[in-house]
């Protein structure tokens, strides 16, 4: 058996080499540039507040439990977590203009239990750039995700909140390191979502701290948290592709 495998390997090597040669064999460029397919350039939203701490009581940093709602198509905040007028909040959150909402480490989408829009999402295990097309299915609206890890305690097991992107360290988009007291966006986690209007978009969180300091410069005792900086791409034409065609 071993001998046969060995023989097989001997044959496989030259075949692989031939394969490489043939693919590299035509280096002459086309005289007339064809249209080329390129990724849609990513936008970056910086320092989006997400229920900033207003007090440090005996139970720690406390916000007001309010979301910041963000419109990816327009690239602007629809409703800030700093807005405390409940009438304004009710009006703004009832619109389909916003796509994604942030409150502390929780992220919501405009659909299901979170809003009136067509928003849904899924967390993909892949690099942001590598996702050139949104998956056809697998999207969940907030309130319908039954796969979030349960919280195990010796006193019982509790279901995780059924949001499209699960909460908790290593369950969703972030890792919390208790030793360093740092929230880090998990590399290789990309949120693909449908917006309030039903377009496809992808989001990658870059930082949870004001000014998005590089990880080795981050000091959680100095740099305030609950500020999102994230990359995103929206495909406005309703297709699932995150690429576009430009003249070569």
């Amino acid at each position: 058996m071993l001998n046969r495998l060995y023989l097989l390997a001997l044959f496989a090597v030259p075949v692989a080499l031939v394969g490489c040669d043939s693919s590299d064999s035509d280096p002459i460029p086309d005289p007339v540039p064809d249209p080329v397919i390129v990724p849609i350039p990513a936008q970056t939203a910086t320092d989006i507040e997400a229920d900033l701490a207003v007090a440090f009581g005996p139970t720690g940093p406390q916000g007001r439990d309010l979301y910041t709602l963000y419109d990816l198509d327009a690239g602007e905040i629809v409703l800030s977590s700093n807005e405390t007028d409940m009438a304004v909040r009710a009006a703004d959150s009832a619109s389909t203009a916003w796509d994604i909402g942030f409150r502390s480490t929780t992220i919501i989408f405009n659909g299901g239990i979170s809003g009136p829009g067509q928003g849904s999402a899924q967390l993909l295990v892949d690099g942001f750039e590598a996702i050139t097309e949104a998956p056809a299915d697998g999207y969940l609206t907030d309130g319908t995700n039954g796969t979030c890890p349960e919280i195990q305690t010796p006193g019982g097991t509790f279901p995780g909140p059924p949001l499209a992107v699960c909460t908790g360290s290593d369950n969703g988009w972030y890792n919390y390191n208790p030793g360093l007291n740092v929230v880090s966006p998990l590399p290789g986690r990309t949120i693909v979502l449908t917006t309030g209007e039903g377009n496809y978009a992808k989001v990658r969180v870059l930082s949870y701290y004001l000014g998005a300091p590089a990880p080795e410069d981050l000091d959680p005792s100095e740099d305030p948290g609950r500020y999102y900086t994230f990359d995103y791409v929206v495909q406005p034409d309703g297709t699932r592709s995150f690429e576009t065609t430009v003249e070569g």
Partner: protein, 766 residues
């Protein structure tokens, strides 16, 4: 197995001592002569009345007696588990003053800097290695670290290290290994000594000892002062990396033989430390780049430590076959930390810690005949914690423990020795543990010894894991130790700060378990000639029930309440090997010139199986961060990593090596010793939240990415030159030494690497 004690100066002596002891305990036992306790001496003491002529030279060539591995005196070669020994001779030759200096030269050991310098054995953090003085534990750990610099090696006869678990004999903490410091017992006649050492950073070590030995008894008193002005590895910030300190140790050893059967021993040890450090907290005014508005507040950081132990022991040899040893042990460890503002003296942080251990144990050694030796033991202990840290509703933790152990050694023939042992530990605050172990030694030919063992180790939950009640006022979360979980949660519920839907079923709370391991060690020693010995050991430690924090409940505001549970698993595996050679011996040049070279190497993998699984499923990525480009944009790239990129748990070097070369010239009483130790790079932080260290300033498309999660590999070289003179009856030794010859530092990341240090030593023996 690694042997460091085979020094030239003491070679003849070792030969004599070992000759006797191995004759009595080990080799002769195998040859068929019934060993008898009446002659073998107490385990912590060597007799010097042997006649080496009785032994064929190559039977005892590297012999040395050890007690830690089996709780009975045994020739190191006959121990079935990996053991290293560093003799007083070698300690002196290396110019070592603290325990860390001694262990630095032992292959496969590394240091962990976390609230002191701790020891890493077979890839385990410091809390998994038990440290003993004459078989009784040294107490007082901070964050699991027992600072090796706390322990002077003056007045020490030898240091033994057993690798792999010995919980079957010692219980908790003996999971990765056991370090046992054997003190020198009073010798006969009057003698005294003075040793002074001075070196870089105004570091001084002064010891004086007096010894009086009589027919039936003896007393030895040692006083040691170790002090330094500290050093600074980060001059740009205020305050020293290592603070100034003065450390005192007083050590008294007495023995009294009531008669031939009853021997009494008393050991008393007391140490104090005063430490004066300082540091600054800088408020950057919200503008990290603008230094002009920075406000620096300076603080004094003052620490005090007092610890002592009293260790009386009675040994009753009530027949040729039975020996009973009863030990009482009491020890206390107290620390006091105060951090005060230099401007107004206000207290920023204060902490008091007080740990008391009282223990009584007794051990019966039964020699049934030629081939069977049984050890029975049992004991009780009481541990109390004081100070501010673990007080709960005004009460201080009190823990009680009872234990019993047994070991049987069977030597069916000279080719084979078997050892089985087990220990049962019952504790008031965690689940009872049973720890068995089995080891076997095979000697197919005289030059070859094969060893294999399988054993279990355990480590009790740390004090914080049992007794902590802590709320982080800045971050909001709370942490409750397992012994406090129920009452703490009830308190929180009563205070109305627990979210109603998250209140767990308090009746379902399970008792916390100790962290446990199953370890396999297998190896061989080949010593074909008296001048060459090679040993190799393969190890595998499978650890489960590692304790970690888990969320127990949520507060009304969403912040978590953590408890401690047995959740995690890790394994460490690898290979340890050492070769010792005396190259001049085969050429017959060994009469006045002695050269010995020992080379050690360790390969280590310390891994979390859950991480390996995640890597194999392709779910783990690293985030490369590029420096800002011209347009001021910082780019990142997420890249999938696989199992081959896994560098293991933080702080573990996959490769490490040691070299020890010594030259001795007898007529000049001159010793030259050079030691080098290398460790490959190791992870120290997780910057990108993926749970593994992979980022290391890699160059991608010609651009150097930001951030390294590693400490670069390094090689440390130490050297000493020692010259002895005899003036009348006074033996004078002069020594000069240099530590860290090539001045390797890793800044504040590795505070135990202070750069090059020079020192000189003067020793007088009267």
């Amino acid at each position: 197995m690694v042997l460091l004690s085979n020094s030239f100066k003491s070679f003849t002596q070792t030969l004599r001592v070992a000759g006797l002891l191995s004759l009595l305990v080990g080799v002769a036992g195998a040859l068929g002569a019934p060993p008898s306790f009446g002659q073998s001496g107490s385990p912590s003491q060597s007799d010097e009345t042997a006649r080496p002529e009785a032994m064929p030279a190559d039977t005892v060539r590297m012999a040395s007696v050890v007690v830690t591995a089996t709780r009975t005196a045994k020739e190191i070669e006959d121990v079935a588990v990996p053991v290293s020994v560093v003799s007083a001779e070698e300690i002196e030759r290396q110019g070592a003053v603290r325990l860390g200096d001694v262990l630095a030269a032992v292959p496969g050991l590394h240091f962990f800097d976390d609230h002191g310098t701790g020891l890493q054995v077979q890839g385990f953090s410091p809390e998994y290695t038990l440290i003993l003085i004459d078989g009784q534990p040294v107490i007082g750990r901070t964050a699991g670290t027992l600072d090796l610099d706390r322990i002077t090696v003056q007045g020490v006869e030898r240091v033994e290290l057993v690798r792999g678990p010995s919980s079957s004999l010692y219980g908790s903490e003996a999971l990765a290994g056991v370090v046992n410091i054997i003190t020198a017992q009073p010798s006969s006649g009057w003698s005294g000594g003075l040793s002074t050492r001075a070196g870089s950073f105004t570091t001084t070590d002064v010891s004086a000892d007096v010894n009086a030995g009589f027919d039936r008894g003896g007393v030895r008193l040692l006083v040691n002062r170790y002090a330094s002005e500290g050093y600074d590895l980060a001059p740009e910030s205020f305050g020293n990396t290592a603070p100034a300190f003065q450390d005192w140790t007083a050590d008294l050893r007495t023995r009294f033989d009531v008669n031939d059967q009853l021997r009494l021993r008393l050991g008393v040890r007391a140490t104090t430390l005063n430490q004066d450090g300082a540091f600054a907290i800088v408020d950057d005014g919200g503008t990290p780049d603008d230094l002009s508005d920075d406000i620096e507040t300076r603080y004094d950081d003052v620490g005090k430590r007092v610890d002592w132990s009293v260790h009386p022991e009675a040994e009753w040899r009530f027949s040729e076959r039975f020996r009973l040893r009863t030990t009482l042990f009491a020890s206390r460890y107290q620390t006091k930390t105060r951090i005060r503002s230099q401007t107004d003296g206000s207290l920023l942080f204060g902490d008091d810690f007080d740990q008391r251990l009282t223990r009584a144990e007794t051990q019966l050694d039964a020699f049934w005949g030629l081939r069977h030796l049984t050890v029975f033991g049992a004991g009780l202990s009481d541990e109390r914690l004081g100070g501010s840290r673990y007080t709960f509703n005004g009460e201080q933790p009190v823990a009680r423990q009872a234990f019993a152990f047994a070991q049987h050694e069977w030597t069916p023939s000279r080719l084979l020795a078997l050892n089985a042992s087990a220990r049962f530990d019952a504790h008031s605050d965690y689940a009872a543990q049973l720890s068995p172990k089995l080891s076997v030694l095979v000697r197919p030919i005289e030059a070859l010894r094969l060893r294999a063992s399988v054993g279990t180790g355990f480590k009790a939950p740390a004090f914080r894991q049992l007794y902590l009640t802590f709320t982080n006022t800045a971050a909001g979360y709370s942490v409750l130790g397992s012994a406090r979980l129920r009452d703490g949660l009830l308190q929180f519920v009563e205070d109305g700060i627990v979210a109603a839907e998250s209140i767990p079923n308090l009746d379902g709370i399970e008792e916390i378990q100790a962290e446990t391991s199953v370890a396999y060690n297998a190896g061989a020693t080949v010593a074909p000639w008296s001048w060459l010995s090679t040993s190799v050991n393969l190890f595998y430690n499978d650890v489960e029930n590692l304790i970690d924090t888990q969320i127990v409940a949520q507060k009304v505001d969403g912040s978590p309440i953590f408890g401690y549970y047995n959740v995690d698993e890790v394994y460490t595996r690898g290979l340890e090997t050492e070769m010792t050679v005396r190259p001049l011996v085969p050429f017959g040049f060994d009469d006045t010139h002695h050269v010995e070279v020992a080379v050690g190497y360790q390969f280590l993998q310390a891994r979390d199986p859950a991480v390996v699984e995640s890597l194999e499923r392709g779910e783990t990525f690293e985030r490369l961060t590029f420096p800002e480009d011209e347009s001021g944009i910082t780019r990142v790239l997420d890249r999938r990593i696989d199992a081959s990129d896994y560098a293991g748990l933080l702080g573990r070097s996959p490769h490490s090596a040691t070299l020890r070369a010594t030259y001795r010239h007898d007529p000049f009483d001159l010793d030259v010793s050079v030691r080098a130790r290398h460790r490959s790079r190791y992870g120290y932080i997780d910057l990108d939240g993926n749970g593994v260290a992979t980022l290391d300033n890699e160059v991608v498309n010609g651009v150097t990415t930001l951030g390294s999660e590693f400490i670069a590999g390094h090689t440390i070289v130490d050297a000493t030159l020692t010259k002895g003179f005899t003036v009348g009856s006074t033996l004078t030794t002069l020594q000069v030494g240099i530590d860290n010859l090539t001045n390797v530092t890793r800044g504040a990341f590795v505070p135990s690497l202070p750069g090059r240090r020079l020192y000189a030593v003067l020793r007088l023996s009267l």
